[in-house]
Structures are given as C-alpha cells and as structure tokens.
C-alpha cells in the first residue's frame, strides 16, 4: 500500500513500486486529466506539480514519493477553472485537440508560481511541452495574459 498526498487528500493505492506516478494517478486514482504521451519525459503531457514544481510524472516511480510531498494534478489546480492560466486559456481559445493542454497548463502554472512575470525568452525556454496541433503562440500569449492578471491587451 502506497500513501500519496493527492490534490490535498491522502490516498492509499495498490501498485508495484516501480509503477510511474502517471499511471497511479490515471489508473489507481482515476484522475485522467493527466495524459500519457511518450513515457520518457519528452512531451510533458503528464506534467503535475510536486510541492509546486512541474514534474513529468511518467518517469517518476511512485515509490520515490513520500506522503508529505504534495501532488497536484490538473483536476486539483483550481475549483471551477479559476486559476489565471485556465482563465487565460479559455479567453484565448488556446487548446485545439486539447490532449497536451493539461500538461501545458500545469507547466505554465508552475512557471508563473516561481516567476510571476517571466520574459518572453524565459517562457520560450521554460515551457518545453510538445503540442502536435501547434498551439504554441497562443500558449505564449496565454501565459503573458495570466501573468498580467487576466487583463487582455
């Protein structure tokens, strides 16, 4: 039995120790907003927060986590889609197919938590998630909009 602090609640899950956190989140906890895209920490679709930092959960064995480490998934980012990044995403119609966007939003939220007003160059360097639909320019605009407190312009 593995104990995890997931979206503010302690959860006990049954999984082999080497199971990646991603699959525990998706299959044991049933939170499917966090996506599988590559399994080798390349694409970022599986991004979650661990103690506020963006982490690619597909490559993190669940046994490496302790119950005092706070895991937040897209479902726990806010109530009612109220996080500034989520609001900016809706305002700018960022997603296309949307499959990568949970990871994109979590990576963006973590960036803004650590650097509330990143430069464009910093955003381009820090956000390394893959989007095959090619939403990057709206991702960039969305992060800027969220950083500006949701004021369009």
């Amino acid at each position: 039995m593995i104990r995890l602090n997931l979206n503010g609640a302690i959860r006990e899950v049954e999984a082999e120790p080497d199971t990646p956190l991603l699959w525990v989140i998706r299959e044991q906890a049933g939170l499917t907003g966090t996506k599988y895209g590559c399994g080798i920490a390349q694409c970022g679709a599986c991004t979650v927060h661990i103690d506020g930092a963006a982490v690619r959960s597909c490559s993190m064995p669940v046994s490496s986590l302790t119950p005092d480490q706070k895991i937040v998934t897209i479902e726990g980012l806010s109530k009612d889609r109220s996080h500034p990044v989520q609001k900016a995403w809706a305002e700018l119609d960022v997603p296309q197919c949307g499959f990568c966007q949970s990871g994109m939003i979590m990576a963006s939220a973590a960036l803004l938590a650590q650097n509330p007003h990143p430069s464009e160059a910093e955003i381009r360097t820090e956000i390394t998630n893959i989007c095959r639909c090619g939403t990057y320019n709206r991702v960039l605009a969305g992060i800027k909009l969220a950083a500006d407190g949701g004021q369009a312009g």
């Binding site: 979206n7 996506k35 889609r81 949307g98 095959r132």
Partner: protein
C-alpha cells in the same frame, strides 16, 4: 443514442467515478456505456428533434448534431455556426452531439458523410447543414404561426425568439419545438447571403475549450466503464512479418495479467487489469518474429528503388501541355535538381487506442476516429457481425492529422482482442513506441526537376518527375484512375477547383513513376501538397536565380492567368515587406500553392548561425479559402499547421533498417517546441464564390518558404528533407 460532445446534464451518462470523487468536478463529456439504454439506440424522452440536425429542449438549449469528427481543427464549432446561423438561434444556447454511424446507416445516411479528412469537413457539408438549420427554422416558425393563426411570412426570428409584430405576440423555439417536429419539412430553402451572417463568418469562441482546461474532457485513452480491462500490444516490427511463437507462460503470473492473446497473425496482446501492468507484461513477453520478405529492406535500398524511378520510361501523367522535350532541347539554359522527402509519422499526441465490447450478438466500439462510418465497417468486419449488430461511439480525438480516418488497423486489433473475452469491455492503448513504429506514414518520394530557360530568362519548359509511393494504391484502391494515383499530383494539376498549379508554363510535363516500398503509407496533414510545394517552389527559386531575377517578380510573370494564386502571393509579399531590406542577419523566402480548394502563400524570415543553426523568426501567411467561417480559428489552424510542417521539414524522418522503422519516440523524432516557434502573421482573405479547406492547405508553404530563406542566407540549397541532415555551417 448519441454522444454529447459538450454539457448535457439532463441525460443519463457515465461519469468517471474517481474524477467526480476527487473534487466534485462536473464532467463535460458524456458517453453511453455498456447496458445504457442510450447505447442501445433508444431515443431520449421529451426532446424530439425538429429534424436530423437540430434538437431544441424546453429550456431553450439548442443541440446541433455534428457528423464530422473534432480533432482540434475546430470543425465542431464551425459546423455548429453554420446550422445556428440559418436556424436563427441564440448562439449562447448551443451545444452539440455526435450521432453514431450506426444511426446514420439506420436512417438512410441522413447526416451524410462522416469522413473528416482532406480539409473537407466544412466545405463539403456546408450546403446541407445550412439547409438543415434553415429547414428547422422554417418549421419552428410554421408551428408558431399555426398556433397563432397567422401567416408564417408575417413572423420573424431573432435569437431563438419568434415574434409576430402585428399582434405583438412572441414565443420561443423551446415552446414550439414539439409542434415543429410534426410539421412537414419544407422543400424549397433559400439560404442567407453570407453578407448577412451574424454567427457564421464571425470569430466566435470554440464550443469545446473549457473542458480542455481542467482535465475533464474524456478522450478514448481515458475511457473507463464497469468491468473494463486494458490491453497492450506488440505487432511485428517488420511490416508484413508475422509471429512465429510466443511464450505466454512467461508472463501469465505477472501482476494483474488476465490473458495473453494472439492478434491476427502478426501481433500479441496482454490483457490486464491496468494498462501499466498490460504494458509491463507485453514488453516482458518472449516473442519470436518471422520477419517475412521485408527483413532486409533499408532506407538505402528504398532510396535506390526511387532513384531508378527518376529515369524510368513508364510514368503516369498528371499534367501535360506542349512538348517539354523539344523545349528543353532548344533552351538557352537547362536547370536540373533532384529533391526528396522521407517517411513521416503522424505522432498524434494521443496514441492509437480503442475500447471494444464484443459478444456473439453485438459489438460496440468507443473510438477516436476521423471517419465513424469507416470505423463501423472495420468493426463489423473484424467482429464477424453485420453492421446492424455493431455501432461506434466517437470520442474527441487527441489529434488526427490523417492517421485515424483512412485505416482503422488499431480498431481492428481492439475488436480481435475483445473477441477473446466476450462481454468484457477491453481498452487497447498503443505505447508511443508501438505508435511510432506502426504508423501509416507520409509517403516517401523523390523528384527530379528539369527546366529550360530562354536567353531572357523565361521558362520555356518544365519536366517534373516524381518517383515514389502512392497512398491510394494500398489505402483506397477504388479511387485509382486507370492505374494512376491522382492524389500524387496535388497542387500540380492543370486546372480544377481542388489543387491547380498557379503557373502558366508553355511546355510542361508532370509525371509519376510509382514505386511502392513495404512501409505502409497514409494521408498525413497536407498529404502530397507538402512535398510538391517543396519541389515546385524551391525549384522556382532556383530558376529565378539561374535567370538572375527576383523570386517574386519571376513568379508573378508566370501567374497572369491565375489571379487567385497571385493575390495571396502578392499579399504576403506586401505585408512582409518583400523588396525592402530585412533586419540584420535575417533572410526571406517565399512560396505559394493551391490545395484542398484554397489558395495559400507565405513569406518566411530566417537566420542561419555560423554553427548552422536555423532559426525561423517570422512567417507571414495568407489564405483565400473562399469563405472564412471562423477567422480566429483559421488563424489557429495556419499557425498550428506550420508547427506540423516545419517540424517535418527541419527535424523529422522515419528511417528504415532491417525492415523496421528506427525512430521509436520523441527523443529520436523531434517536434518543434515553443523555443523555436516563429511569430505567425496571418492574412485571411476570402474572395467568395467557393468553399476551400482550412486545416491543411497552409502547411505546404511553410517548408519551401523557409528553405528558400535558408538558401538566401547561406547560398546552400537543401534538397533532401529534413534540413538537419544538411551541414549549413559557415566555412
């Protein structure tokens, strides 16, 4: 009966229990599940449709039925805009749902074609979906007028409210929907003039955005239902190979494993309680492959096969005018160059997957498909049942790009697996590695360009010999014409409304020596317009250079008879400042093309560092799609298509060794990321009178515009894709 693609709280629906438990989040995507009355085709009570396209609920919610598949391209919103425009409803009350392909068959294909590819979703259904919306409006008005005892002509409609000015009476769509459903549908329907549009043609927001911002959108890979098991598969890594043997006992005792099953003659799957356990076991499973006849094929042997085609006597002719042989013989100067593009994988973010429940009496599939009807046919065939005993429930796709429409190999596998455990729903998910090595790849081609110039630098003749793979010959042989694959000539056709060449060249020959390697091809966003634009538009720059002329002026001279091609090219040149000095270190290139019924052009601004690093700074792109249904989504499609096209042109190739694809994941198949993304400025310039596609056309001009800019920057001409294989360092 139908799958709601957005909120539909009044319907019985399956909710991913753990998600709801996690924080009381409401879910936006409802899918019928095993045993659900809805899944058995029963109509929901109290919400009769006005017609096949429109359901109006008593609370004024307008449900618009969408036949085509949403995969990010925005067709769901666009088609809803068209219906809503003619219906005259309140856009804020609009929601959508997918009818199933089984229902379409049962109702005489009332929703038409479900196929979503070739940028056809809107342009080929706009007429009948608008008529569907208009017919519903006429019936709603008729119902209200009958109730009031007035003439329908005296009533008007605005935002779902019907009013009769003379008597001052008003009612709503919701109030008369039940009565309207009993009205005889009108025969003669006059559609609105696009200049009067208030919903269509406007940059309205997508209907499917918010569920994609909180993780609540359920994709095929996320689906679960009571009793569901998961499957992971390994198919023979050599196309055409088979399974010689496998040792199921080696993994049967692993955690969660329920069954190890052969899938056809080329694959083996493990069924387990979770996907991770199924994947772990299938990767541990000892399998002996029989590579079959293709085990020695390599990229080198395929390249040699294509090179032979460049000089072959026999070739299918796609465009012929004048006498190109005589023109080349009499030319003052002959210019020749050979280009090539590799195999490309679609690499949708969501790997292939499908959930299937099979019994001897019925087979149901939950699938992210670009073509619901083709999916139904694939399910029925693999299930050994008639189509009437099967159905497919579509889910929003985590990317399609052509991979999920023409071939349903992944769905067929899922059915075969489900047949091994009758009654149990089983979800098959491909690993990224399986996805990368079992694609339906962008066809590989080479092209020899040969042109003659007269003493004044005018093009007197052009021979374009394409050698390589046909998509249709294996994917849609019924569309071959006398042995020829017409899709090979996209953008190079002598005329027509789909994909005509924009240059008037007095002597021209475009022909195709078909050479089909064993790697299976597929439609890949932009299809053959992509390589053809590279071949034609890079070579036009080579010719301009040989003639000592400006690439824009050189092209415009040949475009007098093609005003629409010319207009988009001129528009990007003007906006990008063609002819003015670019910023220090920046070089420009341009390209134009027509495909999927639309005219597109781009100017790229590029720098190349001393170390050979290519940086694309800015692309100005124009499109004339005839009508622009949602300009902000066209903007999104153009910018997005460039990521897809430039990722391929700059970095991506699928190479072959020992009959297998060598690239297995994003570490060896790189994708453009935010750090490399250029500024994209779009010019949407609909000229009216026709409907062109949006999702694909622009992708084609990004690569040649960038390649022409690289040549301007370095003096080196990259002719074999991807660019990364050419040394661009300054020496």
């Amino acid at each position: 009966m139908t799958i709601s693609t957005s909120k539909s709280p009044s319907r019985r629906a399956f909710v991913a229990g753990a998600v709801a438990a996690a924080g009381g989040l409401s879910l936006g995507f409802h899918v019928p599940f095993v045993g659900d009355a809805a899944a058995q085709g029963a109509a929901p009570a109290l919400t009769p449709e006005v017609n096949a396209w429109v359901v109006i609920k008593p609370d004024e919610t307008v449900v618009i039925r969408i036949a085509r598949s949403e995969m990010g391209q925005g067709t769901l919103t666009g088609l809803a805009q068209l219906v809503a425009e003619e219906l005259g409803c309140d856009w804020s009350k609009v929601t959508t749902e997918y009818p199933t392909p089984g229902q379409n068959v049962a109702r005489g294909r009332v929703w038409g074609d479900f196929g979503t590819g070739g940028s056809r979703g809107i342009r080929e259904s706009q007429d009948y979906v608008r008529k569907g919306g208009a017919a519903a409006r006429i019936m709603l008005v008729e119902a209200a007028a009958q109730g009031w005892g007035v003439a329908p002509d005296a009533c008007r409609v605005e935002k779902g409210v019907i009013s009769h000015a003379a008597s001052g009476r008003t009612t709503t769509f919701g109030a008369v929907a039940m009565a309207a459903a009993r009205i005889t549908p009108p025969k003669d329907i006059v559609l609105k003039d696009p200049k009067d549009w208030t919903i269509a043609g406007k940059p309205v927001k997508r209907l499917d955005t918010v569920e994609k911002t909180d993780g609540s959108q359920i994709y095929g890979i996320d689906l679960t239902m009571p009793g569901l098991l998961n499957a992971a598969i390994r198919d023979c890594p050599v196309f055409g190979g088979t399974v010689k043997s496998f040792d199921a006992k080696a993994v049967e005792g692993m955690p969660g494993v329920r069954k190890v099953v052969a899938v056809g003659d080329s694959g083996v799957a493990v069924i387990a309680d979770t996907f991770w356990r199924a994947k772990t076991a299938v990767e541990a499973l000892p399998i002996v492959w029989d590579d079959g006849p293709n085990g020695k094929v390599s990229s080198e042997s395929i390249a040699a096969m294509l090179r032979e085609g460049l000089d072959a006597e026999d070739a299918y002719v796609g465009n012929k005018g004048g006498d190109v042989g005589a023109a080349l013989k009499g030319a003052a100067k002959v210019v020749e160059a050979t280009y090539g593009v590799p195999f490309q994988n679609h690499a949708t973010m969501e790997p292939m997957n499908a959930t299937v429940r099979w019994t001897p009496e019925r087979c149901e599939a939950w699938a992210p498909t670009q073509n619901g009807e083709a999916a139904l046919a694939a399910v029925a065939e693999a299930a050994g049942l008639s189509a009437a005993k099967c159905d497919v429930y579509k889910l929003l796709l985590g990317g399609g790009f052509g991979r999920r429409g023409a071939t349903h190999d992944w769905l067929r596998q899922a059915v075969l697996i489900a047949r091994e455990m009758p009654g149990t729903p089983i979800k098959l998910i491909w690993t990224r590695e399986e996805d990368m090595t079992h694609g339906r790849y962008h066809p590989i081609t080479q092209c020899r360009m040969r042109a003659g110039l007269d003493a004044d630098g005018n093009v007197t003749g052009l021979h374009m010999r394409i050698s390589g793979q046909s998509i249709l010959v294996s994917v849609a042989p019924n569309r071959m014409v006398d042995g020829k694959d017409p899709v090979v000539f996209q953008g190079l056709n002598p005329g027509g409304a789909e994909a005509a060449i924009g240059y008037a060249i007095p002597n021209i020959l475009v022909d195709h020596a078909m050479r089909n390697p064993h790697v299976p091809p597929g439609f890949w966003r932009g299809v053959n317009m992509n390589p053809n634009a590279i071949y034609l538009e890079c070579f036009m720059d080579e010719l301009a250079q040989a003639a000592g002329q400006d690439p824009l002026a050189f092209r415009l001279k040949l475009m007098e008879k093609h005003p629409k091609h010319r207009a988009v090219l001129q528009a990007v040149a003007d906006k990008a400042g063609w002819g003015t000095e670019p910023p220090a270190g920046i070089h420009r290139g341009l390209a134009q093309m027509m495909g999927f019924g639309s005219y597109v052009a781009a100017v790229a601004e590029v720098s190349v560092g001393d170390d050979g690093t290519v940086k694309v700074h800015r692309i100005v792109a124009a499109t004339d799609p005839g009508h622009a249904l949602n300009p902000q989504q066209i903007d999104a499609q153009i910018a997005g298509s460039f990521v897809y096209g430039l990722s391929a042109a700059l970095y991506q190739e699928c190479t072959v060794k020992d009959g297998r694809i060598e690239q297995t994941n994003f570490d060896t198949y790189p994708v453009m990321r935010l750090d490399a993304m250029p500024v994209v400025e779009t010019i949407v310039m609909p000229s009216g009178g026709f409907w062109g596609g949006v999702g694909e056309p622009t992708i084609a001009v990004a690569a040649p515009a960038v390649l022409n800019a690289i040549s301007a920057a370095t003096g080196k001409r990259v002719r074999q894709m991807p660019v990364k294989n050419t040394d661009l360092r300054r020496v």
